[in-house]
């Protein structure tokens, strides 16, 4: 399908971006890295959009931190995030797992962190990772800023908690306690394909094995990226070892993932257990726990 937008806005300030988005409503769509935007546009999936709002001039490409929080600007590319010095932190191991292996380079250099959570498809790599890191989203709009948990940001396919005139300014990752590690794994058909399933785990330990907190993010297992709350609860206050992992993984059998052409629900339920186990092992090792 031929995509013929009528106008291309390059706002120079956050306020100008909000005014444009608010003024044009559903006819306007944010262009961040463009990698999802053009694919959706050329497939005819955003037929009402004829105004492009390019937010690349808003100085939202950054990775900053203070004592409590890592802040990632929404137009930071996946390449820029992967090159950031904070990637060495054990609690961000899941991000490192994903970004070191992210292909192809052409997408990595263009796709943005904000775009990953706003593209509205449930199998991209960053959303489950950011869920497991208990991230928050900073949304800017006509009424000012809202800070919302990433978990409640996802509503459905192609639908997020964004109201008229709003867009994502920043993603915040709270810094966890010491002895925290995270890990990521996904299932792809080949090196450059999008994932069929992805999983990410973060664990905070007390001593060498006892779990204080655990967060697990899953992609491809529902219409949106989700937390595996039941599985997480199994670990809290317990040793993370093979029996508890098996207990936790049993709860994943109740998930009802949408069927994919090369991965029916039963297959997804079997494979996600393998992926989650793998991410828990990685997280545990990075948190300084005894290997299992």
């Amino acid at each position: 399908m031929v995509f013929r937008p009528q106008e291309y806005f390059r706002p120079a300030s956050l306020g100008e971006a909000v005014t444009i988005l608010d003024g044009h409503g559903e006819r306007a769509k944010i262009l961040a890295g463009g990698t999802a935007f053009y694919e959706l546009a050329k497939r005819g999936m955003i037929p009402n959009v004829d105004r492009i709002v390019d937010i690349s001039k808003l100085d939202l490409s950054y990775v900053r931190e203070d004592e409590q929080t890592v802040r990632v600007g929404s137009t930071t590319t996946l390449a820029e995030l992967g090159e950031s010095s904070i990637m060495e932190r054990p609690y961000l191991g899941a991000l490192r797992d994903a970004l070191e292996n992210f292909t192809p380079a052409q997408i990595k250099n263009a796709a943005t962190v904000g775009g990953e959570i706003c593209a509205g498809v449930p199998f991209l790599d960053l959303p489950p990772i950011l869920l497991s890191l208990t991230s928050r989203v900073v949304v800017l709009g006509p009424k000012g800023e809202r800070v919302i948990p990433l978990e409640s940001f996802f509503i459905d396919y192609f639908l997020q908690d964004l109201r008229r005139g709003e867009f994502v300014k920043e993603i915040q990752i709270p810094k966890p306690a010491d002895s925290t590690g995270s890990g990521f794994a996904n299932l792809k058909r080949n090196a450059v394909d999008l994932a069929v399933l992805n999983a990410s785990s973060m664990v905070t330990l007390e001593g060498s094995h006892r779990c204080v907190t655990c967060a697990i993010g899953l992609g491809g297992m529902a219409r949106i990226p989700i937390r595996a709350r039941q599985a997480e609860q199994v670990f809290v206050g317990k040793e993370i070892d093979d029996p508890t992992i098996n207990d936790a993984l049993r709860s994943l059998a109740e998930l009802k993932p949408p069927s994919a052409i090369h991965a029916p629900p039963d297959y997804k339920r079997r494979v996600i257990r393998v992926l989650v186990r793998d991410t828990l092992r990685r997280a545990l090792e990075r948190a300084g726990g005894r290997p299992i």
């Binding site: 009528q6 291309y8 990698t35 053009y38 694919e39 050329k42 492009i52 292909t103 192809p104 052409q106």
Partner: protein, 161 residues
């Protein structure tokens, strides 16, 4: 429909033109500026034949709005050779049979150039990783891989005093 003024810098040459909101960098490079070395294949980020460098990084020019390239340095395959002297990568592609029909070649060259500019002595994995966003339906990739490896080794030998 609104059109916009755009100052573009491609292969160290400044261009001044007016473009529409729908025009990709690929379309402007090929159809407006006549730099047809850069190809258009799938037209949505799957094949890599449109790869150009923006500020030294490979991107798919089919998914890159022309208006976003303002103020950035764009390099296309035409920018590789210095006059009649081919880039060492181009020579290696010739010497190692790294092309047959040649349609994907400009994209592969740009991805490989970005790699060698960033890592002088890439590992085998680095090379495969850097080329993973480019498809070739003729060569089976091995000859392209060997060409890039040979170019990197030659560059390393050449830089040794």
């Amino acid at each position: 429909m609104t059109h916009y003024d755009l100052q573009l810098k491609i292969n160290q040459i400044d261009y001044s033109l007016t473009v529409g909101p729908y025009e990709s960098l690929n379309r402007v490079i090929r159809e407006r500026l006549g730099l047809t070395g850069t190809k258009k294949g799938c037209d949505y980020g799957g094949c890599g034949s449109c790869t150009v460098l923006v500020d030294g990084r490979p991107v798919y020019s089919c998914m890159y709005p022309a208006l976003r390239a303002e103020g950035k340095e764009v390099t296309t395959v035409e920018g590789l050779a210095k006059g009649d002297d081919l880039d060492p990568l181009q020579e290696a592609f010739v010497n190692y049979g790294g092309l047959q029909c040649g349609y994907c070649t400009p994209g592969f060259l740009m991805s490989a150039r970005a790699l060698l500019d960033r890592i002088a002595q890439p590992s085998d994995r680095d090379i495969r990783y850097a080329l993973s966003g480019n498809l070739c339906r003729c060569t089976g990739y091995q000859k392209i891989f060997r060409a890039v490896k040979a170019a990197s080794e030659k560059a390393t030998v050449g830089s040794t005093p």
